[in-house]
């Protein structure tokens, strides 16, 4: 009994710590304001400002899109950069040290296309529909729920389906790692320049030349739609490239 306890001391302590944390947090939750309380301190003047002035300031009907791509755009820029840095780190890790430039022209000998009639037939219908839906979500990011991140993930899933049905080699004809690197760099530089411009004009009280348009129209909200497209491209390519890098598997 004593030796069992000594051997499992770490696990017993871990379970004890977890239970303690949950208990402390539950006691804290019991003192929090009630769920859905309009007077709760989280609903303070910051969110009221976004909701009241969001349409006039950003031109976006979707306040969340206006918030993350206009008021707090540099936060989103950092987020997108984190995605890119994560992919760069994964590539650096997965790369074979003996073949330093193998990533640009990888061999997909193990990745044959699946000869599956059901998958092939249904994907003929599904891939265009998923792509159209992804583009719709990206382009209407300032008008309806969605935006660059969710639409990009939908596009990325269509690309993954394509790579599964027709083989990675077929897909890497139009989206190789080189294309990915260029697309993402261009998108990130465009994002940085566009937001740098709007922050420069805002800080110096210069009138921005980008019109906000009529709220509710597709071509409105100034920079938000181009930024959504940039973020969407980055996310779509990143999701797909991460999948490809992991599905390549062990080539030894």
């Amino acid at each position: 009994m004593n030796s069992w306890f000594a051997k499992n001391l770490f696990r017993v302590l871990c379970a004890f710590i977890c239970i303690c944390i949950v208990a402390i947090l539950l006691i804290t939750v019991s003192w929090l304001p009630a769920f859905g309380d309009p007077d709760s301190p989280t609903n303070n003047e910051v969110s009221a400002k976004y909701l009241e002035d969001g349409v006039e300031d950003t031109g976006a009907v979707n306040i969340v899109a206006g918030m993350i791509l206009d008021y707090r755009a540099f936060d989103t820029f950092g987020e997108t950069c984190v995605l890119f840095v994560a992919v760069c780190a994964i590539v650096a890790l997965m790369q074979d040290d003996r073949k330093p430039h193998a990533m640009d022209k990888p061999s997909y000998a193990s990745e044959r296309p699946r000869q599956d009639a059901i998958l092939r037939t249904t994907s003929l219908v599904q891939i265009p529909m998923i792509m159209i839906f992804g583009f719709y979500v990206i382009l209407n990011g300032h008008l309806s729920p969605g935006g660059g991140f969710s639409g990009g993930a939908i596009l990325g899933s269509a690309l993954i389906l394509h790579a599964n049905v027709y083989g990675v080699e077929h897909a890497s004809r139009f989206l190789s790692f080189k294309v990915y690197r260029r697309t993402v760099s261009v998108c990130l530089i465009f994002y940085a320049l566009a937001k740098g411009y709007s922050i420069y004009t805002g800080a110096n009280h210069i009138r921005s030349v980008i019109p906000l348009g009529t709220p509710g129209k597709l071509l409105s909200a100034g920079l938000i739609m181009p930024l959504n497209i940039a973020v969407g491209l980055v996310v779509a390519c990143t999701v797909y490239i991460i999948y490809i890098l992991f599905s390549k598997g062990d080539e030894e």
Binding site: R11, C14, A15, I17, C18, I19, I21, V22, L25, L26, I27, V29, S30, W31, L32, P33, A34, F35, G36, D37, P38, S40, T42, N43, S47, Y50, L51, E52, G54, V55, V61, N62, I63, V64, M67, I68, D75, T76, E79, T80, V82, L83, V85, A86, V87, A89, I90, L93, M94, L143, S144, P145, F149, P215, V235, I242, L245, F246, D250, E252
Partner: protein, 124 residues
């Protein structure tokens, strides 16, 4: 104990999920299961933030064009924070799995204790 434990059942569920994820992170020896636990804990935090931003009877912050009342919509800030959190958690998970693949290729095991034991045996 305060009096809001039962009315805050969304937060209670998120705390319990966080505890489950944290326990999996600490107790599981398998590296993949550790990161599944980390993702459960992440999701619990999103549930907590979303339930803190919700206001009973109000609509999602897609405002109607033309005059709108700020008191008709929920708090948009937690939604934006959750969006940030999801992206960061995806990046961290992908990077962690790349590291796990490298560790597996070297030691042919996913058990953290075995990996530490094997790495101690290696000559520096």
């Amino acid at each position: 104990m305060g009096g809001n434990l039962l009315s805050n059942y969304h937060e209670v569920v998120s705390i319990i999920l966080f505890g489950i994820g944290f326990a999996a992170l600490l107790l599981s020896r398998n590296l993949v299961k550790k990161f599944i636990g980390l993702n459960i804990a992440d999701t619990a935090v999103y549930l907590f933030l979303a339930s803190k931003g919700y206001v009973l009877g109000r609509a999602a912050p897609i405002v109607s064009v033309g005059g709108h009342n700020a008191a008709d919509y929920i708090n948009p800030i937690p939604t934006g924070l959750i969006l940030t959190g999801i992206v960061i958690s995806v990046s961290v998970t992908a990077f962690a799995f790349a590291l796990i693949v490298k560790l597996y290729n070297r030691y042919k095991t996913l058990d953290l204790d075995e990996i530490i034991a094997l790495s101690l045996l290696e000559k520096p």
